[in-house]
Symmetry: C2
Subunit: 291 residues, 2 copies
């Protein structure tokens, strides 16, 4: 049981964590801070937080658990803003979608206290940003990747695992490098492709007509294109070497496909589609039967 959660960033991810932690009966008091005061106020009006703090530092005052839920490029400045109140027995976590840059930011900002910081990436989300879409079930039955470093305190790592389990998540541990390579492949690049798909359509004179004709395939394929611009700007820039590496491999796969289409080589086109189709039909999210 925690006395006080300091929620830094009262958006979808942070707000959902606050609701889930409270529902699990794990926290007495939630003090929130967002860069925009109107966001913090809305979070309080919605009952997501109990108290609005005027700064990240004041949110952390009296807290024994801290969640950073800000765009990843804001990690370092946020940790620097709270470092004077970070104690060895305080659990500090983030929810950023990149981990190498977050870990480096934590090393620089927290120095001797870096061991209290547990880098986390919950594999969940919605394409509707904002605290008004916060959902206590957002983390339920989802994977959370934890990427400890050699200096991470075992005691804090264990507490982090317990907290995520309490909100219904399954914890996996891996290195920051392995994390960033994997998520460039299965998350960051797909987002870039969905953004580029929308940009490509929007750049055409008949964009409005084309979009009015699109159906359920387009709806699902482009759902992630509606993601939060500030969040995804930081992710693709922070993880750019892996994202560009994956984009190069994707372009090679696309070029092979195009060449076969151009030569109208139906059996070879079918073979490529069949490889993709059978693998996707077999795939289950988190190896769990769902869709």
């Amino acid at each position: 049981m925690f006395e006080q959660l300091a929620l830094i960033g009262c958006g979808l991810m942070g707000g959902s964590f606050a609701l889930a932690l409270r529902r699990a009966g794990l926290v007495k008091r939630i003090v929130g801070y967002s860069k925009s005061p109107s966001t913090t106020e809305r979070a309080r009006q919605l009952g997501v937080i109990d108290v609005e703090a005027p700064s990240a530092l004041l949110a952390v005052s009296g807290a024994d658990i801290v969640l950073l839920a800000v765009p990843v490029a804001a990690t370092e400045s946020t940790l620097k803003a709270i470092r004077h109140l970070v104690r060895r027995d305080m659990l500090v976590m983030d929810v950023g979608s990149t981990k190498r840059d977050v870990v480096e930011a934590a090393r620089r900002a927290l120095r001797e206290h870096v061991g209290t910081f547990v880098p986390c990436h919950p594999i969940t989300g919605k394409e509707k940003a904002g605290v008004e879409h916060a959902d206590p079930d957002l983390y339920r039955d989802r994977q959370v990747i934890i990427t400890p470093i050699e200096r991470t305190l075992v005691s804090q790592l264990q507490r982090a695992e317990q907290v995520w389990a309490a909100v219904g998540s399954r914890v996996l541990k891996m290195s920051p490098d392995a994390h960033d390579a994997a998520y460039a492949t299965v998350s960051h690049l797909p987002h870039v492709l969905a953004f580029a798909m929308m940009n490509s359509v929007l750049g055409q004179a008949q964009a409005d007509q084309f979009l009015s004709l699109a159906g359920p395939g387009f709806r699902d394929f482009t759902r992630i294109a509606a993601s939060d611009p500030a969040v995804w700007r930081d992710i693709v820039v922070a993880n750019r070497s892996e994202v560009l590496n994956q984009s190069r491999q994707f372009r090679e796969a696309l070029a092979r496909f195009e060449a076969l289409i151009e030569s109208a080589d139906a059996p070879a086109v079918e073979a490529l589609i069949r490889q993709a189709s059978e693998a996707r039909a077999r795939w289950r999210m988190g190896n769990v039967q769902e869709d």
Copy 2:
């Protein structure tokens, strides 16, 4: 009210049409034919069709409405197989995702009877092929694009519109060329990108690990990659000039994105994402509020 539906191709699309037409009380008898006798038998066992026909021609014998639900490249041979029984008062429709090639196939195969053929493309589907996934609601609240040619009989066009309305669809009419350009953009290319994304991941040594870590964004983005290989082989080959044109425009949009990521130009990256995100957040399928 129709006496007999000849269903040629007893898969997901055809089976769903049969179920919907029967539920609407519009047909007395459904005779089905599929290239694979085991498919036709399963359709009868599931109650999707009443009678199994040993050939397309025999399915059409006694029919006053015919639905072709076969991969688009099979359109011409199928129409040739039934042409001796096609009459002026028989409504013949297809459900193919390309229309220019289908219309040309119909001209060649049906000649003087081409006016009885109404080319249709329902904007619906599932990524689970086969008659066992047939669903009488598949066409409900979906758009159906009809692409008549100058020789299409007005009487047949009107009957086709009535049939689609009776199963809950909204009909839109356009030219085959306009259709193929639009659907290359919002359907065929997204499928190719989703296939290529899967191919790209599968070509990497860590494919299994990466796929086990993928979350809901990947799930939605790649859902269409599980589509039927024979159906999609025909679509991308039939519409290859438009698909390749759209792929080129997409690659240009992706290259612009990559260049900004590479230079870590965060504001410009955010601007591109924001354009995509705002457009996608505003978009509603068929201009109807849904997701």
